[in-house]
């Protein structure tokens, strides 16, 4: 049995594959790993196939400038990836529709979602997200990386539900208005 200390030390350097680490079945082991990660401001998360350590949100501190901080465009792109690769498949599953085990999205779908930004810049953002483990790329298809899969889906889904519900309502109302305007129009 490998020590929890080693697992924690590895986790702050990269994901651990679940199959290769049966020790995580032991609650005491997991608690110890959590404790060790917590000591350095990180937390343990599971992404299905592997375990990852992610930086915990910390308040700003004078004289401290984090090396890694996602900017707005990066966060927005993570959100777009989340909607395609996590949220929408879960919606399908909830409705009893068959879901691809490893959902993917075309790079073009992501790039076109940000028309105000240049393609070069968006490709760089994608590369950065890939390096950070949020996304995997296979030619023109993007797949969820371990850090996207480890995202707190309950909280994220609630926010996505709210935004999409607003969007769907507004769109529905616009369609009804257009429909009624069409009906009211003189023949």
């Amino acid at each position: 049995v490998r020590p929890a200390e080693k697992a924690a030390a590895l986790l702050v350097r990269g994901p651990l594959e679940r199959d290769a680490w049966p020790e995580f079945a032991d609650e005491a082991f997991v608690a110890e790993v959590r404790h060790r990660l917590g000591e350095v401001g990180a937390e343990l998360a599971s992404s299905g196939r592997c375990f990852v350590a992610r930086a915990r949100e910390l308040p700003d501190e004078a004289g401290f400038e984090p090396l890694f901080r996602l900017n707005t465009v990066e966060l927005a792109m993570v959100a777009a990836l989340y909607l395609y690769l996590r949220y929408e498949p879960r919606q399908r599953a909830t409705n009893g529709i068959e879901v691809d085990d490893n959902p993917s999205v075309d790079v073009e779908d992501i790039v076109r979602a940000f028309p105000s930004r240049s393609r070069d810049y968006l490709q760089k953002v994608l590369t950065r997200l890939k390096r950070m483990g949020f996304v995997r790329r296979d030619h023109d298809r993007l797949f969820a990386g371990p850090y996207l899969a480890a995202l707190d889906d309950i909280a994220a889904d609630a926010r996505a539900d709210q935004l999409l519900e607003r969007f769907l309502r507004r769109r529905y109302l616009r369609r009804l208005e257009a429909e009624e305007a069409g009906n009211d129009a003189p023949v």
């Binding site: 702050v12 350097r13 990269g14 350095v40 401001g41 990180a42 990852v52 350590a53 992610r54 930086a55 915990r56 949100e57 090396l67 890694f68 996602l70 707005t72 465009v73 966060l75 927005a76 993570v78 959100a79 777009a80 989340y82 909607l83 395609y84 949220y87 929408e88 919606q91 399908r92 909830t94 409705n95 009893g96 076109r112 979602a113 940000f114 028309p115 950070m132 483990g133 949020f134 850090y147 995202l151 707190d152 909280a155 994220a156 926010r159 996505a160 709210q162 935004l163 999409l164 607003r166 969007f167 769907l168 309502r169 507004r170 769109r171 529905y172 109302l173 009804l176 208005e177 009624e180």
Partner: protein
């Protein structure tokens, strides 16, 4: 605190039938009230509603309430007198002053601990059918109250001018003002206001203002309040469309529908009033707002109800869900990346690690890298003089055929020029002929076309358009 009831002159609102302006006391035996101060337990709390300053001072002392106010501040508020920024004649105050004697009937009835008894007593009298009562009869009518208590309450109401006493015939009756006040209080004896009835009630208030002669301003204010309610409805509806639960949104839409209907009734009912004030720009603007809001808001509420109904039906059929096309459209219209980023803000934490570096290995690799020589391309060969070669003659069937054409001495059918040796040769010569005339039409002998067709029937050629090549005449 002593009550001044026994010796003080009757309040301005009270009436006497002898014209003296003072109301005689009543008692249970002959309509006369007992003289002297009322029992201490009732009088102390019933003289006045506690003022705001008193309440604040009490809160300051007890720590109760939101604002804690010191004693000096409470005292300052006690003597506080509101100051105007505009001339008084430009404020509603003169109208209020004129109505103050009437309006004072409300606090005379509703203030104090015994307010509930006084209101209930007046309601009972209002509904008793008789317009006047001897005290004994009055005590019988208010059968639910102990007679002595009835006598005390009647005395207070008489002093407040709510009840009138005829000291000749020894009976009490409700003053006309008291009847109106009692009717209004009865109408408002409700547990809580149903929000759906707000505009309906405002309409009633407008009607009351117009009927009572309170003036156009009072009606105008009621109208403005109704329009303000519709505006608030619209804001609330839009807010709930964005962020509200479906049941809350449906409830709001239904409420709006009620309000719109009531507002339409209000507009229809007061059409004369509206016409009379059409030259008032403020009222005109208000009316325009109402006329704009009613159809717009009514339509909006109806659409929201329809949307919620249809979407609920879709869900019942299992058809309502978010698909990729929805997400694509949602992302395309999301102009504010901050809102989109908000979905994962605080959740999408980056990994905590940096690549670990081995210093010794790094230096070794540096040495390896710095020792590498950039590869160079092989040297170029020395230059050599180049021998110029005459290009071999190129077979040009077009030029060759053109030479044949120039050599013709007499008019010759194209068939004779083209059809030679084999089908392949004939096709090549025909192509060369066409090419030659395409390029050098002016130099070559004239080519005359005819409608007829030649049929050489040799070398695989069956038919060919009849054309004749006519050599040019030699120039003199």
């Amino acid at each position: 605190m002593e009550t001044e009831r026994a010796d003080a002159p009757a309040p301005p609102g009270s009436r006497s039938t002898d014209g003296t302006g003072t109301a005689p006391p009543a008692s249970s035996d002959g309509g006369q009230l007992p003289r002297g101060p009322l029992p201490r337990d009732n009088a102390a709390a019933d003289d006045a509603l506690p003022s705001v300053a008193e309440l604040l001072a009490h809160r300051a002392a007890t720590g109760d309430g939101v604002a804690v106010v010191g004693g000096e501040e409470a005292e300052a508020r006690r003597v506080f007198e509101p100051r105007l920024r505009s001339p008084e004649r430009e404020t509603p105050l003169p109208e209020v002053d004129r109505a103050l004697e009437f309006l004072k009937l409300f606090p005379a009835i509703v203030r104090g601990r015994r307010a509930r008894f006084k209101i209930a007593l007046l309601r009972t009298l209002q509904g008793s059918g008789s317009g006047r009562w001897k005290l004994r009869r009055l005590q019988q009518v208010v059968h639910w109250l102990e007679p002595h208590s009835t006598t005390e309450l009647v005395g207070e109401l008489r002093e407040a001018g709510v009840l009138e006493f005829d000291d000749v015939r020894r009976f009490y009756r409700l003053t006309p003002e008291a009847r109106v006040v009692t009717a209004i209080l009865s109408a408002l004896t409700i547990r809580e206001l149903d929000p759906r009835r707000v505009i309906k009630l405002l309409n009633v208030a407008i009607r009351l203002a117009l009927e009572s002669g309170a003036g156009a301003r009072a009606a105008f204010e009621g109208f403005a309040s109704a329009v303000a309610q519709l505006r608030a409805d619209e804001e609330e509806l839009e807010r709930l469309i964005d962020d509200g639960a479906e049941d809350a949104l449906l409830e709001a839409a239904e409420l709006v529908s009620h309000h719109v209907e009531d507002m339409q009734d209000l507009l229809d009912e007061h059409v004369t009033f509206r016409a009379q004030h059409a030259d008032d720009p403020d009222f005109l603007q208000l009316e325009q707002d109402a006329l704009d809001l009613v159809p717009r808001l009514g339509k909006r509420a109806a659409l929201v109800i329809r949307m919620l109904t249809e979407r609920a039906e879709q869900r019942m059929r299992g058809g309502a869900r978010v698909d990729r096309a929805d997400i694509r459209e949602f992302l395309a219209q999301a102009e504010d990346l901050g809102i989109l980023a908000g979905i994962v803000a605080g959740l999408a934490a980056p990994p905590p690690f940096l690549p670990g570096l081995n210093g010794a290995l790094a230096l070794d690799l540096l040495e390896v890298e710095s020792g590498r020589v950039r590869p160079e391309p092989p040297p170029l060969p020395e230059p050599e003089p180049v021998e110029r070669l005459v290009p071999p003659p190129r077979y040009d069937p077009t030029r060759e055929l053109a030479g044949e054409l120039f050599a013709l001495a007499a008019p010759t059918p194209v068939t004779d020029v083209v059809v030679r040796e084999s089908w392949t040769t004939a096709v090549r010569r025909h192509n060369a002929l066409v090419d030659a005339y395409s390029r050098r039409n002016l130099e070559l002998p004239a080519l005359e076309h005819e409608d007829a067709v030649d049929e050489p029937r040799r070398f695989g050629v069956w038919r060919i358009s009849r054309s004749t090549i006519r050599p040019k005449e030699p120039r003199p």
